[in-house]
């Protein structure tokens, strides 16, 4: 049985995430008008149509490409020494302190409760088209999966293979991978919620909603 109180207490010890913002590409850096301790916002709006706070532009090939805050938080470190420099892809630009939201805390706890289906090898993963269509239409929690069902396309070495799901029947409650990114062997791809786990999941959601206070 899941000890929600204990998990919550543990998370409360460090109720934030340090998010390192790295430049996704090469280019010349100019930081936006920001300073340390400034609050920043992630994408917002009903459809996340409002972009996050502008942190820097990394200009490449006369194209001032913006780097924006992926999440809400506070700026902890700015590598101001990079201002005006040409940097390589992957160079750290700044660090954000991001306080965990209720949703994130729920996700962390649920990772302990849900049935996790892990990546068998390092590869890029995609849902098979039929499932992808369903997810796009109604969200992943509308998709019920069962043992042996063809669920993923595993893509590596320029080859693709179908990966069937194995595990208990249930709804896809969480998705842990994103489009076009490699997942290491053994890392979870999805969290599945079988019928009998539903009460526990609901309990976690209720407890976190009630007990977690989001910090700015």
């Amino acid at each position: 049985m899941l000890d929600i109180s204990k998990l919550l207490e543990e998370i409360k010890q460090t109720p934030f995430d340090k998010v390192e913002i790295v430049s996704p590409w090469c280019g010349r850096v100019s930081f936006a008008d920001i300073k340390e301790e400034d609050p920043v916002a992630g994408p917002s709006g009903n459809w996340l149509e409002v972009p996050g706070t502008l942190l820097a532009n990394v200009e490449r090939e006369h194209n001032p490409k913006p780097v924006r805050a992926p999440e809400k938080g506070r700026i902890e470190i700015i590598h101001n020494e990079l201002e005006g420099q040409f940097i390589e892809a992957g160079t750290p630009l700044l660090t954000l302190k991001h306080f965990l939201t209720k949703q994130e805390v729920i996700q962390i706890i649920l990772k302990q409760a849900l049935h996790l289906f892990n990546a068998p090898e390092r590869a890029k993963y995609y849902f098979v088209p039929e499932v992808d269509v369903k997810i796009r239409a109604a969200g992943h929690r509308s998709v019920r999966i069962a043992n042996g069902m063809d669920l993923f396309i595993m893509s590596r070495m320029k080859r693709e293979a179908i990966l069937p799901y194995s595990g208990p029947e249930g709804l896809i409650y969480s998705v842990y991978f994103s489009h076009n990114e490699n997942v290491g062997a053994g890392e979870p791809l999805i969290g599945v919620c079988p019928e009998e786990l539903m009460p526990i999941v609901e309990d976690v959601v209720a407890r976190v909603q009630a007990e977690w206070e989001e910090q700015e």
Binding site: W25, R60, E61, F86, E88, A89, E121, R156, M157
Partner: protein
Amino acid sequence: MEKHKVLIANRGEIAMRITRACQKLGLDFVCVYTAEDSHSRHVHLARELGGGLYRVSSYHDANELMAVADASFATAVHPGYGFFAEDFRFARRVTQRERGLIFIGPSWRVIRELGDKINTKRLARSLGVPTVPGSDKPIYDEMEAEHVAQSLYDFQLSSGISQPTIMVKASAGGGGMGIEEVQDIGMFRSVYRRIRNYALRNFKDEGVLIEQRIRDFNHLEVQIVSDRSGKNPVHFGTRNCSIQSTGHQKRVEVAPGFAPAEINYSFDAAGVLAEITEHSLALARKVRYDNVGTWEWIVTRDGRPFLMEVNTRIQVENGVSGIIAGIREQEGVDIIAEQIRVGLGEPLGYTQADVSLSGVGIEYRIIAEDPAAGFAPWVGRIEKFAWKQESWLEMYTQVPVNEPYDIPTEFDPNLALGIVWGKDMEEAKMRGVAFLDSLVLEGADSSGNPLKSNISFLRAKTADILKF
């Protein structure tokens, strides 16, 4: 030579070969790598030799490469093979941007002209170079299509082919889309209409190509080098690349293309080799080809060659031609170095008469894959990789030999290229087997299963090389 700095826009063993060639020519160079590749030996080599080194987000992003070129003051770009090697737009951008660079490869117009298969076929025909029988233009008219199909059918029957086959494909298609074979001529019209409608829906072009489908053939190549004048191409002989995986991927390449001295062929093999090199050179002169390139041919069992396409890049297997070739007194040719030299504008400096070919070269592509399971790639960690050094062996690999190596999942699965040389075919085969026997390649995947490789496949195939 003017002092140049070459951006090596590639990875793995080819990046290493280009790096070494630059070093040999006394040129500055700059390498790139991605996070996935940070343990690749091409990165170590760049550090070792003191060249520039930049991490980029992707080898596929021309913008990253151009940004690095500018930041490092590079004056030329070598694309290697794959990635941007045959992308005429990349070559065009490199040369036409405000801060222009030299593209080490053919000029973009040549790449574009020969990148279009229909265009290549027509160029070839205009010179009398043999091509696969059939149409050399998109056909839009049903009567004309039926006429060509019937002719092809009769032609094959009269050539003694018992089961004539016609290939119908959308001329605007590619990558195996919109292709069907017809064996029963009575079915042609319905297949033609199906392909035509498919082409119209998908490519907005009703044009259809109709060709003979050739089944039983050997895959040959002619290695060409020419300088920027485009007037004096030379060849470095032929290669036979017929030993392939089930997915038609090359696994063993042999130079020269046939061995008439040691094997009996049902046709005049020496004559065929001479014919395809002459035709290749003629076409190179016609388009004023101005860098290295490979002319791909198929040769049927009855000894008829057909030009398939031209690869306007350095190829993986260039080394196997290099190992049998010589220029004047010098034995062996570094074709990559030659490519860089002429790419930067130096004249070739020798003629065909100065080129000699001797012995037999075999290149093995060593890959972690399972030949028994349709050559499925194997993913995991290499723990041990070793072989015996020999004077007759060249080994190209990005896999480190003194530390474990996780095979990146992003790229082609080639681990190493082993090229052996023998004075004749027998010696080359013997040395080939000896090399494969000396190879140690061990490792395990995440569940502890041992590494799978194609070494035994390569060994078994060695017995059959150049046989037809």
